[in-house]
Symmetry: C2
Subunit: 455 residues, 2 copies
C-alpha cells in the first residue's frame, strides 16, 4: 500500500526491460498496474521491436486505454496503426473513446481507414464516419459519444440501475442526460442528485431542466468558456434537431484552453512555441519564415530612411535617436496588441470597436505625452538643444499614438474579417511601427532642420 | 422545460428590477433558479442600495453559493463584507468553500477578521486561521477542506451511506479518500467504483491504493500539471504527516492554468494584459512604468550611437540600416525568449542548461547566416555596394546570434536564480538587443569604413 506522492519514479526502465526479455506475464502485470498516463509515457518511448511485442502482450482494449492517454500529435500516433494487424488496429479503434479515435483516424490513409471501418460494429463505424466530418476546433470535433442518456419517465432507482450498467463505457457517469420520447435533451441529473434523492422519486422531479448545451458546430473556445465559467464537469452537445449526440468533458477543455493560450502566445512572439525539437535545423526552419518576411518589411523602413539620407548627412545627430523612437513605439504597440488579443480571446468585452479604439487612442495619447515629455527633457539637457528635444519628443509621441492604435485596430479588424487575430504577431506590429515611426520622425525633423543644425 | 443552449439571455434586468421594487419573494424565486455563475454576474453589477436588499432577501447560505462563483478580485469581494452585519458576514463565510473564503479574508482588516472568526464554529475558525498562513500559489492556498474521507474497514454499502450524508457539503463526492486508523491517506475510491461494485465488498478490496497526492506547499503549477496529465477531477493534499487535509478540484486548476499562461503572456508583452479597465488613465499607468524604464535603457543605445556620430556623418548610408538590424535581431530574440519561457513553464524539458544553450546557439547561427546572406544580397544589389552588403550582413548575423542567446539564457538564468522567468519581458530583450546590435554594427562598420565610403 503506497503513500507515495508525485510519481516521478514509476518503474519505467524495469517495465521496458520486461519487454526486452519477452516476459509477457510480468510485463502485463506491471504495465497494467500503472496509470494510463504513465503507460502512455512508456509506450511512446518504445522502439519498433518493443512495440511489436506490446501489441502481442496487450489486448486491443488494454492498448486502447493507453492510446486514449497519449498526448503526442495524432499524426504520430497514426503511424503506430500501420504496425498493427488490421484486425488488432480495428480492435483498438473500437475500444478508444470516439473523439480520440477520430483525431487519429483523420491522419490514416483512406484505404486503411475503410479496412478498419469494415471491421468495426456498424454503429461505431457510422459514428466515426460522421465525426470525421466535423470541422476542426468545433464542439463536434472534440466531443465523445460515450455518454449516459436516461429517459424521463422512470424513478431514481431505475435510473441508478441504468447508470451502473453504463458505467463501464461512458466517459463520465457523474452527469446523466435526460431525454424525452423524441430523444430531445430536456434535463440533466447529477449522480449526486440521484444519490441523495428518495429512490422512488421520478427523474422528472429530480432533474435540472435548465440544462445547458452547445451546438455541434460551436467553436471549441466558446465551449471552453462555458464549461469554465459554470464549473461544469461536462456539457452535452446537440445537433440541429436538439438531439443529444455527444458530450465534452472538462479534461478535453483543459487541453483546449492550453492550446488556445499557446496560440495567442506564439502569435505575440512570431514563433510556434510548441516546437519541442532540440534539432537546431528544425527550430530555425520554424522561425525563419517570419523573420525573413519581416526583414523584407523592414527593408521598406530602410528604403524610407534612405530617402532621407541627405537629411541625415546634414544632421547626423538625427541617426542617434532612430532606435529610441522605433524601439519605444514598438514596445507600446506590442503592449496594446497584447491587451487587444487577450480581450478578443476572452470575449468578455462586448463594448464594440469604436469604444475600444477611443480608449486605446486616449491611452496612447497619455502614454505618448508622458514619454515624449520625458525624452524632450532628457535630450534637451543632454545635447543642450531643446529644439532637438522637441523634435524627438513630438516624434516619439506621434509614433507611440500610431503604434498603439495599430496594435489594437489590426487584431480587431482581423477578428471582424474572420481571421485569427493572434496572427497579427508582435514582431509584425513592431516592424510596421518601425516604418511609421521613421516616417513621422524624419518628417517632423525636416520641418525643424534649420533649428537643429543651426544651433 | 427548456431546450435552450447558451444562456446569453437569462433575465438579468428583470431580476434587478424586482430588487428595486422590493419584491422579496419574486426576487428569491427568480434569482435562486439561476446558475450560481449567473447569480454572481448579477450580484457584482448591483449598486450599494440593491446589495443591501439582497443581503436582506437572501440567507447567508444562499449568498455564500453566489460568492463561491464570483470571479472578481478577492480584494473587491472583501469590500462587500463591510456592508453586511458582522453576523451575516460570518454566516456567509462559514457557508462558503474554505478556499474561496480564505482568498477573500486575506483582504479583510484584522479587527473584522477576528470578529468573524469568533462567530464561526470553532473548527471552521481554526481551519481558516490555518489556511490563511499558506503561501500564495501553493497547494495549501488553493485547496478546499470539504472532502469525503472514509475509513478503510467498511463495505461499499456503508461507504455509500457515508457519501450520501456528505454529499450536501463536499466540494466533490466523485472521489472518496480512504484513510487508515492514523488518519493517513492510503487509497481512493471513485463513486463509479462504488456503484459498480458488489455492495458487500470491503473498501480495501475496491480502492485504488496507488493514490497520488500533493504536499501542502507544492507549487500550484505542479499541481495543475499533475491533474492535467492524469485527467483527475481532484487530487488530495496532505501535510507532512501524510495526513489528508484538503482537496484541489479541476475547476480550481483551470483558473491556475489560465493565470499562469496569462502571466507568461503578459511578460512577453511587457504589460499586464488582465487590465480590464476602460479607463485610459488606468491603462496608461499600468503600461508606462515598463515603457519609461525601457526608454532609459534605450537611451544607452542612443548614447552609443552618439559615440559613433562622427562615423555616421562620414557614411550616412549606415543610418539607413540601423533599424533593419536592431529590428531583425529584436524579433529573433523575442522568438527565442518565447520558446525558452514556454519550455520553462511546461517543465517538460529536463535536458539542462548547457544542452539548451548549445541548441539555441546553433539555431541562432543558422538563422543568422540565412538572414545575413539575404540582406547581403539585397543591399549589395540595391546600393550596388557589396562591401556595404557584407558589413550589414555580418552585423545582422552577429546581432541575431547574440539576441538569440540572450533570449534563451536570460530567462533560464532568472529561473535558476529563483525569479519568475516571465519577468524578462519581450520588450526588455528587444531593447537590450538594440544596444548590442548597434555596438556590433558600428564596430564592424568602422573596420570597413574606407571601403564603404571609398566606393
Amino acid at each position: 500500500m503506497g503513500d507515495r506522492e508525485k510519481r516521478d519514479s514509476y518503474p519505467k526502465d524495469q517495465i521496458v526491460e520486461l519487454l526486452n526479455q519477452q516476459q509477457a506475464t510480468k510485463f502485463r502485470e506491471q504495465f497494467l498496474m500503472l496509470h494510463v498516463y504513465e503507460q502512455a509515457l512508456i509506450f511512446v518511448d518504445l522502439d519498433e521491436k518493443q512495440r511489436a511485442r506490446a501489441y502481442r502482450y496487450l489486448t486491443p482494449a488494454e492498448l486502447a486505454d493507453t492510446f486514449n492517454a497519449i498526448e503526442e500529435e495524432p499524426e504520430d500516433v497514426a503511424e503506430y496503426f500501420k504496425e498493427m494487424s488490421t484486425k488488432y488496429a480495428a480492435g483498438v479503434i473500437s475500444e478508444m473513446y470516439t473523439d480520440n479515435a477520430v483525431d487519429i483516424l483523420a491522419y490514416v490513409d483512406s484505404v486503411s481507414l475503410n479496412k478498419y471501418l469494415r471491421l468495426l460494429p456498424r454503429e461505431d463505424a457510422a459514428e466515426i464516419k460522421e465525426m470525421l466530418h466535423y470541422e476542426d476546433k468545433t464542439a463536434g470535433a472534440i466531443m465523445a459519444t460515450e455518454f449516459v442518456k436516461i429517459i424521463v419517465n422512470q424513478t431514481a432507482r431505475s435510473a441508478l440501475h441504468v447508470l451502473k450498467k453504463a458505467a463501464v463505457d461512458a466517459e463520465t457517469i457523474y452527469y446523466s442526460y435526460v431525454v424525452d420520447a423524441d430523444d430531445k435533451l430536456i434535463g440533466v441529473v447529477t449522480l449526486r442528485d440521484l444519490l441523495i434523492s428518495d429512490d422512488d422519486l421520478l427523474i422528472e422531479e429530480i432533474m435540472n431542466d435548465q440544462v445547458m448545451s452547445v451546438k455541434v458546430d460551436d467553436d471549441q473556445e466558446d465551449v471552453a468558456k462555458t464549461i469554465r465559467d459554470y464549473n461544469f464537469l461536462a456539457i452535452p452537445v446537440t445537433d440541429y434537431d436538439e438531439k443529444m449526440i455527444g458530450i465534452i468533458t472538462v479534461d478535453d477543455i483543459i487541453d483546449v484552453i492550453d492550446e488556445e493560450s499557446a496560440e495567442d502566445y506564439s502569435g505575440l512572439a512570431g514563433v510556434d512555441t510548441e516546437e519541442s525539437s532540440n534539432n537546431p535545423f528544425k527550430s530555425a526552419s520554424k522561425r525563419l519564415p517570419w523573420l525573413v518576411t519581416l526583414l523584407f518589411l523592414g527593408m521598406s523602413t530602410a528604403t524610407l530612411i534612405s530617402h532621407y539620407e541627405q537629411l541625415v548627412s546634414e544632421a547626423s545627430i538625427l541617426a542617434v535617436f532612430i532606435s529610441s523612437i522605433t524601439g519605444t513605439a514598438g514596445n507600446a504597440g506590442t503592449q496594446s496588441l497584447a491587451v487587444a488579443v487577450r480581450k478578443l480571446a476572452s470575449k468578455d468585452d462586448e463594448e464594440g470597436l469604436v469604444r475600444t479604439i477611443i480608449t486605446e487612442l486616449l491611452t496612447g495619447l497619455i502614454i505618448g505625452v508622458t514619454t515624449g515629455l520625458t525624452i524632450f527633457i532628457i535630450v534637451g539637457i543632454w545635447k543642450n538643444n531643446f529644439v532637438l528635444g522637441f523634435v524627438i519628443g513630438l516624434a516619439m509621441m506621434c509614433a507611440i499614438v500610431v503604434a498603439n492604435l495599430a496594435g489594437s485596430i489590426i487584431p480587431m479588424a482581423m477578428d471582424k474579417m474572420g481571421f485569427d487575430p493572434a496572427v497579427a504577431s508582435g514582431p509584425f506590429i513592431s516592424t510596421l511601427s518601425d516604418l511609421t515611426s521613421v516616417l513621422i520622425y524624419f518628417n517632423i525633423a525636416s520641418l525643424f532642420l534649420s533649428f537643429i543644425v543651426g544651433k
